[in-house]
């Protein structure tokens, strides 16, 4: 089952093309790493896929309820709410009656050292990123998109969170943007290279 697809997508930033004729398909259970140099267009591709950036040309299709860890993870949290409410957000929006119970269980597994009653604004950078990851995993959709999800996580917590991400994904697809070869090797089966707005798909990890 296809959970997300880009077909001949073009995006311009001013007079400069950011993405040129990019096509990509993600199926259920896929573990895909999106790699490339800084400014190659990785975050733009993710935003296009999620419908957050307008296209110039091409088509985009994406399943509902995607879990997303943005690069600006700290700004994506709701600092005025508790960690628990942040994690529960996708489930609350989806109208799930057990939103808080499910979020609490997830927080216990992914954020063992963090009191779920703490306000998200009072967390450290690494704790915020882990909370954003937990929230993405709480999302009910068939796809998780994570843009540099471990950039602020300490080395000691990285392994644990990688394992948690792998375990919690189930049969959902993962699109991981990362510069870290270890993240890619541990979590992904396929690598997509993005260079100067063009995609080179299918490189095995």
């Amino acid at each position: 089952m296809i959970v997300a697809a880009l077909d001949r997508v073009r995006v311009h930033g001013g007079d400069r093309p950011i993405l040129c004729e990019v096509s990509l398909t993600l199926r259920q259970g896929d573990r895909v790493a999106l790699v490339g140099a800084n400014g190659a267009g990785k975050s733009t591709l993710v935003r296009v896929l999620l419908g957050l950036t307008l296209l110039v040309e091409g088509t985009v299709q994406c399943a509902a309820g995607v879990g997303y860890v943005p690069q600006a993870y700290a700004e994506s949290l709701f600092p005025w709410f508790s960690v628990l409410r942040n994690v529960a957000m996708p489930l609350l929006v989806a109208g799930r009656k057990d939103a808080y119970d499910a979020a609490h269980a997830l927080a216990r597994r992914i954020l063992p050292g963090i009191d779920p009653r703490r306000r998200a604004g009072h967390l450290s950078g690494g704790e915020k990123q882990a909370t954003a990851l937990a929230r993405a995993l709480a999302s009910p959709g068939a796809l998780v998109v994570a843009d540099e999800p471990f950039s602020a996580i300490s080395a000691s917590n990285r392994d644990r969170l990688r394992r948690a991400l792998r375990d919690e994904l189930g049969d959902r697809a993962l699109l991981l943007v990362s510069h870290d070869a270890e993240d890619v090797a541990e979590l992904c089966e396929r690598t997509v290279h993005l260079s100067a707005g063009r995609i080179f798909d299918g490189v095995p990890v």
Binding site: L50, G51, L52, A64, G65, V66, Y68, P70, A72, E75, S76, L77, F78, P79, W80, F81, M89, P90, V93, A94, R119, A120, G121, H122, R135, S139
Partner: protein, 253 residues
């Protein structure tokens, strides 16, 4: 240096600065213009305080109440006007310019208009104070409402949140900073306008009336005391709002 040592040094410097300020005040009080002192000495002002403390308290309370009521009315009206302007501005960008123009009108020049409209009564004074606050708050609301879409808003859009969910999860909190700045600016304006209104239109009680009365009889110590009291009132209002701001924004580190 240890923390207690730093604190002792800081207290000593503050006391020194306070003594310097009183010394400066005393020096200014020695200046004579046309045979009269510009301001009373600290000692004479203290004497005036001990002689008039009860009535000064009543007048400060009256000005404080006028400031508070006018500010409240202005803030409520500003929230409504700002919300309407934010909605209208998407189609009519000139709205922002019009609000800025309204804010540029010195509030006290509206006092004659209010006196003509409502008569020489409390309502005219309060309306003038409210007028001084409404535009600043309205502009703050409009700025908050037209701020770029935040990452949080995008997360809610991705989760397919309803517009009402998206609004209540983000807007009141994200707007807090701009609104608090607007509120504090309005509060400072409210104190100034309340005092000036009492000076121009007169009032049974109020710091502005005291200032004018002291000036008419040439009571320099009383005048100095009243000027300081107006400063204290403004300071207290500002301090109260800073405490409120800190309390409201406890979610920030």
């Amino acid at each position: 240096m240890s923390a207690p040592g730093l604190r002792r040094r800081s207290v000593a410097r503050s006391l020194l600065a306070l003594a310097g300020a009183v010394g400066g005040w005393w020096a200014v009080a020695q200046i004579r213009v046309a045979g009269r002192a510009l301001v009373a000495t600290p000692a004479a002002t203290l004497n005036a305080l001990s002689a008039t403390a009860p009535t000064l308290g009543v007048d400060m309370a009256a000005t404080g109440a006028r400031t508070g009521l006018g500010l409240t009315a202005g803030v409520v009206a500003g929230l409504v006007v700002g919300a309407l302007a934010a909605v209208l501005m998407r189609q009519t960008p000139v709205i922002e310019g019009l609000l800025d123009l309204a804010r540029s009108i010195p509030p006290v020049v509206l006092l004659p208009v209010c006196l003509l409209a409502f008569g020489y009564n409390e309502f005219a004074r309060l309306a003038t104070v409210a007028f001084g606050c409404v535009w600043t708050v309205a502009l703050a609301v409009m700025t908050a409402a037209s701020s770029p879409r935040s990452v949080r808003r995008e997360m809610l859009d991705l989760a397919k949140a309803t517009p009402m969910q998206a609004l209540t999860w983000t807007q009141p909190w994200e707007s807090l900073g701009v609104l608090v700045v607007g509120l504090r600016t309005s509060a400072s304006t409210a104190v100034v306008v309340a005092v000036v209104t009492e000076m121009i239109a007169g009032a049974e009680h109020g710091l502005g009336s005291r200032v004018i009365a002291a000036q008419i009889v040439g009571d320099t110590p009383g005048l100095t005391l009243d000027v300081l009291a107006a400063g204290v009132l403004g300071y207290v209002v500002n301090l109260a709002l800073r405490i409120l701001e800190r309390w409201v924004r406890t979610f920030e580190k």
